[in-house]
């Protein structure tokens, strides 16, 4: 990236809220299904039908606002955004114009290296989704060149949250980190599935560039059609590069909407409507205002779960867990819960995290059983950790014991006892084993004596293996050194 220019990025997200029914009617809110089966007079915009807002959707958006520290409007209302489009049944969208439920606040996100940053939010508001059009007759299913379109209204009227950020992001990576944090938080709050592939999270990016040190903004473009976090990252990077190239060559950026072309890796102009939109917003006369009391906001605040950003801070600051490991735990709430229970039983975080993300996660992958559902209960893991901490087993044996626990062989202490896996640090017992190994590998011994000191590790390994991991590696190393230098 050109170091003389700084990208300025804001993200606008549309998130389908998780509710049993649609925003303004009792039709089921579920992804997919037989076309045009989840439709009623209200969401199909039949003559005479009237919208009634879904209480749960409003609770969800208040929760989101509170979680991001937004100001929850005591008085809010719904407006109509008027424009004709075939998949929008009423030819207006019920949305919120000048009085969104939530304004301000910020999303805390973290970078790869674990730095916690925040991106301010402009507003969060509620609206309704449109139906889905399938364009037929064109080669690639795109709208351009299509002959006609088919419409399924199942999605029409699904509650949609629009979340607009301030232009606080400074790179494509930050934009993705922001989106990931947003996604994690919404999942933790249980308000959405946040699946980009199912369209329950959709986002557009506003991108501009400016000379480093400048405080004014350059002309921005709006990027659409990004279908994954990866395409968000690529699209923004590509657009930033395009804009810098234009500015460098003395050109001017045109304010426009640009579509991301995933195949060719470029954005292209979507200038299709020359005239500016005139949405004729006005208060929806079919709906009455919303009043959200401070008491309600307090209630929501008190019932808020720990948010990913808070958990991130706790894990990285208090437990000194690496950011990458923290992110892994945060993205797997069940695993994080397991981890927390192990900590509650007294295990040290550094120990616990290694077992949870290392051995246990590997076993989980191999067996297809989630860690939290495995035979290794938090008690068992904390027991193994205690055995290691108390120097009663080696960390090598710990792995073996955990695997045996996983496969249902019982409690760690019992396994150690039964299998004779207790740590051996008694020199008397280990000397014969060491001598046996030296005798078995004369060539290696010769190498060592010829100055190849790094073969010592091989010999330690052989002794460990012969002891089934029970030998204290420190003692073994001492004995080997002693023997090799004296012999």
């Amino acid at each position: 990236m050109n170091e003389r220019y700084e990208p300025v990025i804001g993200i606008e997200c549309h998130v389908e809220l998780k509710t049993a029914t649609k925003m303004f009617c009792g039709c089921c809110n579920e992804f997919g299904g037989e076309p045009n089966t989840k439709i009623c007079p209200v969401c199909l915009g039949l003559p005479g039908a009237l919208p009634v807002p879904n209480r749960r959707a409003i609770e969800h958006i208040v929760t989101v606002g509170v979680a991001f520290g937004s100001t929850i409007a005591e008085f809010s209302k719904f407006d109509r955004k008027n424009y004709f489009y075939p998949d929008m049944p009423k030819d207006y969208q019920i949305s919120q114009y000048d009085m969104p439920v939530a304004a301000g606040g910020s999303v805390k996100y973290w970078t790869e290296d674990g730095e916690l940053r925040e991106c301010r939010l402009t507003r969060v508001h509620l609206e309704e989704d449109t139906g889905k059009s399938t364009h037929a007759g064109s080669t690639d299913g795109r709208i351009a060149g299509s002959e006609y379109s088919l419409i399924d209204f199942n999605r029409a009227g699904v509650p949609l949250m629009e979340c607009v950020s301030e232009p606080d992001l400074r790179s494509a990576q930050e934009a993705v980190a922001y989106l990931e944090a947003l996604r994690r938080t919404l999942l933790a709050l249980g308000v959405s599935d946040v699946k980009m592939e199912e369209g329950s999270l959709r986002c557009d990016a506003n991108v501009s560039v400016r000379p480093v040190g400048s405080s004014s903004y350059g002309t921005k473009t709006e990027i659409k059609n990004m279908n994954s976090f990866r395409s968000v990252e690529r699209a923004i990077a590509s657009e930033v590069a395009r804009q810098i190239a234009i500015v460098e060559s003395g050109g001017r950026i045109e304010q426009e909407t640009r579509g991301w072309d995933e195949i060719n890796g470029v954005t292209h102009s979507m200038r299709s409507k020359e005239e500016a939109h005139d949405y004729r917003y006005f208060p929806d006369p079919d709906l009455v205002p919303l009043e959200i009391s401070p008491a309600e906001v307090r209630r929501v605040t008190q019932t808020l779960p720990e948010l990913p950003a808070q958990r991130f801070e706790r894990y990285t600051a208090r437990y000194s867990i690496a950011p990458r490991q923290t992110a892994q735990l945060i993205d797997n709430p069940a695993l994080a819960g397991y981890f927390e229970r192990v900590l509650a039983l007294g295990a040290r975080p550094a120990q616990a995290i290694n077992f949870v993300l290392g051995d246990l996660s590997r076993l989980a992958n191999e067996t297809g059983v989630a860690v939290a559902e495995s035979a290794v209960t938090p008690e068992y893991l904390s027991g193994v950790i205690a055995l290691v901490e108390d120097r009663r087993i080696t960390s090598k044996v710990a792995k073996d014991v955990l695997a045996r626990c996983w496969h249902g062989e019982g409690a760690p202490a019992a396994i150690v006892e039964r299998e004779g896996l207790a740590r051996q640090s008694d020199t008397g017992a280990l000397v014969p084993l060491v001598d046996q190994m030296l005798a078995a590998h004369p060539a290696v011994v010769a190498d060592y004596r010829a100055g190849k000191q790094n073969v010592l590790g091989f010999l330690v390994g052989q002794v460990m293996k012969a002891s089934r991991g029970t030998a204290d590696p420190v003692v073994v190393k001492e004995l080997l050194n002693e023997r090799l230098s004296s012999g």
């Binding site: 509710t19 029914t21 009792g26 039709c27 979507m270 205002p289």
Partner: protein, 96 residues
């Protein structure tokens, strides 16, 4: 409001109604006339007056998140001007 000119072509485009030249002229004259009558409102001092969107002061009329039966697809599609299988069909969409 002191200049009650109405751009009928622009408004008709927003409203998606095709008008003939004759209609544009006629509606333009009639609506210009109406806007002149409406200009009487300028005489009212509304500086410190709140706008009334609804006369009844209800708040928070909401529904519980409980499913209700949807309509039968056949009943609905039977009334569609054009359908294709399980879908509503529309002529090609130009632009965005």
């Amino acid at each position: 409001m002191s200049d009650p000119i109405i751009d009928i072509r622009y408004v008709a485009k927003l409203a998606q109604i095709a008008l003939t030249d004759e209609e544009i002229e006629r509606f333009g004259a009639q609506l210009g006339d109406l806007l002149q009558h409406v200009a009487a409102l300028e005489r009212l001092d509304t500086e410190r007056v709140a706008a009334t969107a609804q006369v009844v002061e209800s708040r928070n009329i909401l529904r519980d998140d409980v499913a209700r039966p949807s309509l039968d697809r056949e009943t609905v599609l039977a009334q569609a001007p054009q359908r294709q299988g399980k879908f509503f069909r529309v002529p090609r969409i130009i632009g965005e």
